[in-house]
Symmetry: C2
Subunit: 339 residues, 2 copies
């Protein structure tokens, strides 16, 4: 750990170890604490600000409320050559994925594609760490998660969807995989809360107030209003699709069915998560990763300062690997205070 002014720089392992001890302090078992700490440290390393360590207080409050099971024992159901269901035992999705990954990989390698359907799971992090490992092994992966009911449709007065993130990952010859991950609402919950905390106004089209009228004020969105889907009526179709894939298809709760009012302090959605994993090389398509690399090069050459989804994250990662993960003294003190 290196100190510089108001900030400290931690190595990945220092941050992960600290977070692991924080989770164990609230009675999360070793297996889950290890996974959540690894996940949270990765997200803090790569940004953005709205996930990572920013979420630790929410994790802890949720665990203390009894809403989520920090010692869950998910049950893997092998439902066919290319189909796995998982009952999360009210635990975190990351544990389900870690437990199911060997069988999922076996199925993809054997049959060419496979799906993993997780239900009754809590997801409180970015999605990219769930699928980047598949791309690092040459596979293409998609994932979808339902959330807390905070997004209304155009003309709607009450929220019906979660922020419903989706993520995509695939290998790129000669470089890091292409991985992107975003909320299918106009804004994520985290970014809405950050804007509210900073007193910033939002662009048009992000949300409505409690009477259903458009608003640019994040406070009004958070206090009885709702976010809107990204991208107009096409984005509205995408967010509906994510809700169906992540909840109805997995057997998990819809975003609107999440009800933690008997667990004061709880913040995590207990819904479901779908993964679709495909082997791009199956059937002799061996130049997949090289062709994706050529496409990305073409896109970068089509103008100046072109940004491709995931670029910022890889820049953050490279900087953190060189200089360490920067957090403020205040945040470090808060984390140590949890021990």
């Amino acid at each position: 750990m290196r100190e510089s002014g108001d900030a400290v720089r931690l190595s990945f392992n220092e941050l992960k170890d600290l977070l692991r001890r924080v989770f164990i302090k609230v009675s999360v078992n070793q297996e889950t604490a290890e996974l959540l700490a690894d996940n949270c440290a990765m997200v803090e390393r790569d940004g953005p600000e709205s996930h990572g360590v920013f979420r630790i207080e929410g994790y802890l409050n949720t665990l203390k409320s009894g809403w989520v099971n920090g010692c869950a024992d998910p049950r893997i159901e092998d439902c066919g050559e290319s189909f796995i269901r998982v009952d999360a035992d009210n635990g975190f999705a990351q544990l389900c994925l870690a437990r199911a990954r060997p069988l999922l990989l076996e199925k993809v390698r054997r049959s060419g594609c496979a799906v993993l359907m997780v239900r009754g799971s809590h997801h409180f992090s970015a999605l990219w760490p769930d699928i980047e490992p598949f791309a690092q092994q040459g596979l293409l992966a998609l994932t979808f998660v339902a959330g807390l009911s905070v997004v209304a449709v155009s003309g709607g007065k009450t929220p019906v969807f979660g922020t419903n993130p989706l993520a995509f990952a695939c290998p790129v010859a000669g470089s890091s995989p292409l991985v992107f991950d975003f909320a299918t609402s106009a804004l994520s919950n985290g970014d809405t809360r950050i804007a509210a905390r900073a007193g910033h106004l939002l662009p048009d089209g992000c949300g409505i107030d409690k009477s259903g009228q458009p608003t640019n004020n994040p406070e009004q969105i958070l206090n009885g209003g709702a976010l809107l889907p990204f991208g107009g009526h096409k984005g509205a179709a995408i967010i509906l699709m994510v809700e169906i894939l992540a909840a109805a298809l997995t057997g998990g709760a819809f975003s609107y069915q999440v009800d933690f009012k008997n667990h004061p302090g709880a913040e995590t959605p207990k819904t479901g998560q779908l993964l679709i994993v495909i082997d791009p090389a199956r059937g002799g398509n061996h130049d997949f990763a090289a062709r994706v690399a050529a496409l990305l090069n073409l896109i970068r050459a089509s103008g100046e300062n072109i940004r491709i989804a995931g670029d910022k994250r890889l820049q953050n990662r490279a900087r953190a690997e060189q200089q360490g993960i920067v957090i403020t003294r205040a945040v470090l003190a808060q984390l140590n205070g949890f021990l």
Copy 2:
């Protein structure tokens, strides 16, 4: 056929039979002519205006140019328990799907999910007819197609993507399936051409002119400019994903690789198409369709006059089934002129 003023009303079968004869007239074989006529009549019946009969002249010019094979004999490659590849033999995607559908259904029923990768195929229609039949059989389906290079990224000066449509379909208990289908560009090619023909200006963010500057003029987009992705940077990630799924993953050409300059009159993209089909009931999830119905009811009840993706198409279909498919005398004369 009933006449009323400037318009005529045809039954579905009357329109389909006329279109079939038009395709056969330009030496398309019976199998493909039947499929294209059925597809085109369905799209005309359900709308929107930018597909359907509006496309017939483009089909015919493309066939006459020798760019597409109207008598193709696609080769189905069984690449694994859940994986099919198809070499389209330079024919239409609809033929590949029709030929591969029995094997695809067999694989989905057996293993729980399957993917179909078509390459070297031409797609010049809406996507929903490709997947609605799966939803009618209780399955969930997704499809993705790459197109002609007409879409630039933000900050780009030259087009790199097709309009890259995606479509989703799933069963809904007690009603027609939920099916939607849209270009992942801000506007489809067809709608851009219709706006240009009508002299309409477009909303902000739809496209750029030939110097890379934003424009609202569809003529400038069509004449050396480019469309933009829908939905800002999130839509840009989606359109990139569709390009990768429909071209790199299938082994088909990227949109930017389509080159028909030696075939004057050609209009169809020769790229690739991906289908992902999943059995929602696999593993005991038998209330999938009922839960989707409940979700759609909740969305409709969340405000007044809420529109859900696909609503308009089903309204058009219901009206056409009652009153016939309305086309103008001029269009009917044009179709008859092709015979």
